[in-house]
């Protein structure tokens, strides 16, 4: 009797999880390789994933590359997507985009040689932005000085508005570790912004 109850509870939890993934309706089309299903998925989430990549990188071209790679990876993963797994499709997209941004940053990390490295300006390029305030540029520059994982926690929490459970799932860490990363990110960001407070009049 106990076993039957536990089975019923598990089935109920799984049903709730599946019904809580609003993108599950696209899965048959994605599995069949239908471009229309991919287009609908992008209509729903491309802005979010691009925004996540942009806040992580501060670079519009890189954000577009990351968005493209993320959706193409899902396109190829869809046939083997485990709908009864723990992640929703959006959580998976966020996780992959975050991972690619962190890996991209590590690939670009300088190797110590005698050569003088090229100076990389972390401020957003004005030619690609419409009108951005000094504050917005200062915040993005300060975010770029955060360690990648702290920045990811901040971006997921503030800009993507995800819950602690979803944020930790997107980063592949425990909720406690996620909370700690977020807390350290806020402290460091405040400190970074305070160093430029004369110009920002905090």
């Amino acid at each position: 009797m106990k076993g039957a109850n536990a089975k019923a509870v598990r089935a109920n939890v799984e049903d709730n999880r599946l019904s809580s993934d609003p993108d599950i309706d696209l899965l048959p089309g994605l599995r069949a390789g239908e471009p229309a299903a991919l287009k609908t998925l992008m209509n729903r989430h491309l802005d979010r994933i691009h925004g996540l990549a942009w806040h992580m990188s501060g670079d519009r071209a890189l954000a577009e590359d990351v968005s493209q790679e993320t959706f193409l990876r899902f396109w190829q993963t869809a046939p083997s997507w485990d709908a009864s797994g723990n992640a929703t499709i959006l959580t998976w997209l966020r996780r992959v985009a975050t991972r690619i941004c962190i890996d991209e940053k590590r690939r670009k990390r300088p190797i110590y040689t005698d050569e003088v490295p090229e100076q990389i300006d972390l401020t957003p390029r004005p030619d690609l932005e419409l009108v951005r305030s000094d504050t917005a540029n200062a915040v993005q520059s300060a975010m770029m000085r955060l360690p990648e994982r702290q920045r990811a926690a901040l971006v997921l929490s503030f800009y993507q508005q995800v819950s602690q459970a979803e944020g930790s799932a997107a980063m592949g860490v425990s909720e406690k570790a996620y909370e700690s990363l977020l807390s350290r990110a806020k402290v460091k960001l405040k400190s970074e912004l305070m160093t430029g407070k004369e110009s920002l009049a905090l």
Binding site: R31, L38, S67, Q68, L130, T135, A136
Partner: protein, 105 residues
């Protein structure tokens, strides 16, 4: 909202270019169709079997090779034969080297 949240809110991400969606779609269509793409698990299985086959081939290969005398070994053998003849042990040397016949046994 705190000051920090107000500042973060001001840092809005730009919208993606309109062509991004189209370029992702065209890239998807040139890739292996999603329903035909081999799963990562099966690729791992094929890769593992190939790696084991290569390892087995490399391990077995030395046992199949007939021993090949090097030039140094041939020179040493010729020198030993000359020395044996000089010293007068050529008969003994020949006796040691030749295979036993029925008469010997």
């Amino acid at each position: 909202m705190t000051d920090l949240e107000n500042m973060l809110a001001e840092n809005k991400a730009p919208a993606p270019r309109g062509s991004l969606s189209d370029s992702i779609l065209s890239a998807a269509q040139t890739m292996t169709p999603a329903n035909d793409a081999p799963s990562r698990r099966s690729r791992w299985a094929v890769g593992s079997i190939a790696a084991m086959a290569i390892a087995a081939f490399l391990v077995i290969q030395p046992f199949n090779q007939a021993p090949v005398e090097t030039e140094a070994e041939l020179v040493a053998a010729a020198e030993w034969e000359d020395l044996a003849q000089t010293v007068g042990f050529s008969d003994l040397y020949a006796w040691v080297e030749e295979t036993p016949t029925e008469e010997d046994s």
